[in-house]
């Protein structure tokens, strides 16, 4: 005998439930949290590295590094002054249970900001909510202006867009109007920070914004 059972649920529901638990842990400790996503080489670790010294006088930072094979990134962010934990991302993306394990290794009451550096990938991380307050995508101009069209799920699903390596704009083929057109179609009004981790241009605006968000989270 056969019968049809209605379900109508998101397939990543189990992950999303753990993401919600992560979010509760952030909120209980007044921690502002970011999920940093990008393709390999776009500047995830560099942005964290550049931001830490500019935030460390006011806030205590923790970094959860998802890296497949090495602890190179965690070593860099630790050296820059943030408590860093390495989670073994035996995958192409981080998921909520992995971040939960990372949180277990951090002393949450002693932190104000946690940055989760996802695995370098523009496809897989888009499907997995980690429970952070905001999702940040770093696009770098050498990747080309067609990326919003090629990876729409990623561009659609983020709250903040950082455009890195703007110092290279004179040297690479990157039509900012076409890029922004794709971004706006998918994610209207997304907060955007054009900057260069190399020259430092634009980093101030980004850091001020992170500081504002952190204060707002703490007072909620």
């Amino acid at each position: 005998m056969g019968k049809t059972i209605p379900v109508v649920e998101k397939i990543t529901k189990a992950n999303d439930q753990i993401a919600a638990m992560n979010r509760t842990r952030f909120d209980e400790h007044d921690i502002f949290s970011l999920n940093l996503m990008a393709s390999p080489g776009a500047g995830k670790t560099s942005l964290i590295e550049k931001s830490i010294p500019l935030l460390a006088d006011r806030f205590r930072l923790g970094v959860i590094e998802g890296d497949i094979a090495t602890s190179l990134d965690a070593d860099r962010t630790e050296a820059a002054g943030a408590t860093s934990v390495q989670i073994n991302a035996a995958s192409c993306h981080l998921d909520a249970p992995m971040v939960s394990q990372g949180l277990d290794q951090l002393d949450l009451p002693s932190l104000d900001i946690i940055i989760v550096e996802n695995v370098g990938n523009l496809v897989c991380p888009a499907s997995w909510d980690l429970g952070t307050h905001l999702r940040v995508l770093i696009a770098s101009v050498p990747e080309g202006d067609d990326k919003p069209f090629k990876y729409p799920a990623m561009y659609r699903g983020v709250d903040v867009l950082v455009i890195n390596k703007i110092d290279l704009l004179p040297y690479v083929i990157f039509d900012m109007d076409r890029f922004r057109e794709g971004v706006e179609a998918l994610n209207r009004g997304v907060v955007t920070f054009p900057l260069s981790c190399q020259t430092g241009e634009g980093i101030g605006a980004w850091v001020d914004w992170v500081a504002d968000q952190t204060r707002q989270t703490a007072t909620l």
Binding site: G2, V8, I11, P152, R156, A185
Partner: protein
């Protein structure tokens, strides 16, 4: 080859089995899915992993039915609703690039079909 379909396929299996058990158990014969173009999920990779992860489970041999949901956008200028082709998101009616997404993001398990005999029913 994108790898995230493997954990996605495992999540799909877990979700289906949970609902099958809640309905009294039995063999899962069919799963009906809705996959939006913006979901970033590629059907044939889910299918590839499905046959592997279901081995020895109540969903072994179950058929996956994918309903593809096109990307649908609405023009903020003229109000037209259209399905963009490829990398051209401009309004098909007035060419405006002031547009927004209205559909095509979902990745849902809509329903499952179960085969139950009298003994599974009484166990349930």
């Amino acid at each position: 080859m994108p790898m995230h379909e493997l954990p996605i396929t495992r999540s799909l299996l877990d979700l289906a089995i949970r609902h099958a058990e809640a309905a009294g158990g039995g063999r899962i014969t069919d799963l009906h899915l809705e996959v939006g173009r913006l979901s970033g999920v590629i059907n044939r990779f889910v299918q590839f992993y499905w046959d592997i992860v279901t081995e020895g489970t109540p969903a072994e041999g179950a058929l996956l039915h994918f309903k593809h949901i096109e990307l649908e956008m609405e023009c903020l200028g003229c109000g037209a609703v259209f399905n963009p082709e490829g990398d051209d998101y401009a309004c098909t009616a007035c060419s405006s690039t002031e547009v927004q997404v209205v559909d095509g993001e979902q990745f849902h398990l809509v329903s499952i079909d179960l085969e139950q005999d009298d003994s599974t029913m009484s166990e349930g």
